[in-house]
């Protein structure tokens, strides 16, 4: 293959990767944030102290985090089929991607929220703020730089997962690399996918750092 033959393959694959990563990020951001907040507020002495709930959530998150993505993907195929009707293709890949990334991001959210000065939370309580206000206007808002940095790490992990999803028929750059680069020994395709993946990661990291810095007032 020469480069004229390689380039037309790259664009659709890149688009698929961006699509899978983008949609999975969206779901992960929302659900991971929710789970992370729950992990913090339900702990003993937290805003919504509920230690049993906390233990269950924490256990679920640990299980989710300990499964290698490849295994998770296969393990939840029945669930994926229920959600999107099929277990192959882009849309089907989004389900395990999201399921795998949620516990990952939830832990990062938890860490970011714990960084928030307890004195600020106590001050808000002393002002008569409601729990909702304390979570929304104090905890989440004060933790914004950490939440953004955590999401950046998560998105980059998701790109890695999409490449893996690609190897089992999820499409995208990972699929391209396997089908052409590995199975047909097309070195140019392999090189191009690697460059593209690296570029994506660099751009996302830079953008994440920029936003996080903007949100930090030191």
């Amino acid at each position: 293959m020469n480069w004229d033959e390689v380039t037309p393959l790259l664009w659709p694959a890149t688009r698929e990767t961006l699509y899978m990563t983008g949609v999975a990020t969206l779901f992960t951001a929302v659900l991971g944030l929710l789970l992370g907040v729950l992990l913090v507020v339900t702990e003993r002495g937290g805003l919504l102290s509920a230690p049993p709930v906390n233990r269950v959530l924490s256990f679920a998150v640990n299980v989710g985090r300990s499964l290698p993505f490849l295994i998770l993907m296969v393990a939840i195929i029945p669930f994926t089929k229920v959600v999107v009707g099929t277990s192959i293709g882009n849309a089907a890949a989004i389900v395990p991607l999201t399921v795998g990334a949620i516990p990952f991001y939830a832990r990062l959210v938890e860490i970011a929220l714990r960084e928030v000065d307890t004195g600020v939370i106590a001050a808000a309580e002393a002002m008569g703020a409601t729990r909702r206000e304390i979570v929304g206007k104090v905890m989440l808002r004060e933790a914004r730089p950490g939440l953004v940095s955590g999401l950046t790490v998560t998105v980059i992990a998701l790109i890695g997962y999409t490449a893996m999803a690609g190897t089992v028929g999820g499409g995208g750059l990972g699929n391209l690399a396997i089908v052409y680069g590995y199975q047909r020994f097309e070195g140019k395709v392999m090189l191009a996918t690697v460059v593209l993946l690296v570029l994506m990661v660099l751009i996302i990291q830079a953008a994440g750092d920029l936003v996080a810095r903007r949100l930090t007032h030191r």
Binding site: G119, A126, E142
Partner: protein, 336 residues
């Protein structure tokens, strides 16, 4: 304005019980500044946090501005808290918000409309002398300025009561003085009742009308500062006016004389010397102006043993002074 009865709070840490507040009674009158002084771990913060129920006491009563806080439900308690200002040792400011945004926060919580909020914020920043810093972030201002933001924020809801948890402990002496001055001004101008806790004598000396000394969860003494100073054996007096340890030389009597309130303007040392033709030695002392009154302690040495000085001691006591005899330490040692 603040009334606390038989307050008790015990923490359980890994099966061990720590009684942080052990039956405290406290009354803070309207418009006064009340200081609770105590060492680290005495239970001061716990006591203060019980006043707006950040901490729920195990038993007792907490009445603020006529309202029994322990009888209130969630929403009622939140409304009550909006009328009780609080300032914190480490300020407790939102780092992500500007100075103005921080002061606006309690107004948002209270549901004040946006336009009104901006006006009130400007007014409050003016009140604490921070008008020019509205758009700065907390990280960009000094500790003293941060505490001013904290004070402005605490006053947003026009509270009658301000609680202060070591508000000046993180500040240098000059800044401490200016913050204390500000609290004094606000107390006078707005009729604000202040309950503050501190481990610094200086704070009590500068601005408190009344004070209590707290130790192991209890008040060991409590009352108006000038009264406490005149009380024999008062820890507060000893702390405010430290005299070096001393024991009488043979054939002399050592007295610790505390004067406060009405007794301050008489020249009692020279009166004593003249009346009994004595040579009075002043071995140490400190005199300060507290709450506009002159207060102090002196250590006097009189010739002759305590029996020989009975009339002189009675004279001093009749003049309204508090007199404590320093016992010779050697007696006890001989007795061993």
């Amino acid at each position: 304005m603040i009334q606390i009865e038989e307050l008790r709070k015990t923490y359980r840490v890994r099966g061990r019980e720590v009684t942080a507040v052990d039956g405290v009674d406290l009354t803070v009158r309207e418009g006064e500044i009340f200081g609770v002084l105590g060492r680290s771990g005495a239970g001061k913060s716990t006591l203060l946090r019980c006043v707006n129920l950040l901490e729920r006491p195990d038993s007792g009563r907490v009445v603020v501005d006529g309202e029994d806080l322990l009888a209130l439900g969630g929403a009622g308690l939140r409304r009550a808290r909006q009328r009780i200002g609080m300032i914190h040792q480490h300020f407790g400011l939102l780092g992500s918000r500007t100075v103005a945004g921080n002061v606006a926060f309690p107004l948002e919580v209270m549901g004040v409309p946006r336009a009104e909020r901006a006006e009130r914020v400007a007014e409050l920043l003016d009140l604490v002398g921070l008008a020019g810093h509205a758009d700065a972030h907390p990280a960009q201002i000094s500790g003293g300025q941060k505490q001013r933001v904290g004070i402005a924020r605490a006053l947003a809801g026009r509270p009658k009561v301000l609680l202060s948890d070591e508000a000046t402990s993180a500040l240098d002496p000059d800044t401490t003085a200016s913050i204390l001055q500000l609290l004094r001004d606000l107390n006078r101008r707005l009729g604000l009742t202040v309950l503050l806790i501190t481990h610094e004598m200086e704070v009590v000396k500068r601005i408190c009308d009344s004070a209590a000394v707290m130790r192991d969860g209890r008040f060991t003494e409590s009352g108006r500062v000038t009264e406490l100073l005149a009380r024999p054996g008062s820890e507060l007096a000893r702390g405010l006016f430290p005299l070096p340890p001393a024991e009488p030389r043979p054939g002399t009597t050592l007295l610790e004389v505390t004067f406060a309130g009405d007794s301050t303007d008489q020249p009692f040392v020279s009166a004593l010397a003249r009346k009994y033709s004595l040579d009075v030695n002043i071995l140490g002392g400190a005199i300060e102006t507290i709450g506009g009154e002159r207060v102090g302690r002196l250590r006097l040495e009189l010739p002759g043993g305590p029996e020989a000085n009975a009339a002189q001691i009675a004279f001093l006591r009749d003049s309204g002074l508090t007199v404590v005899l320093t016992a010779p330490a050697t007696d006890q040692e001989d007795a061993r």
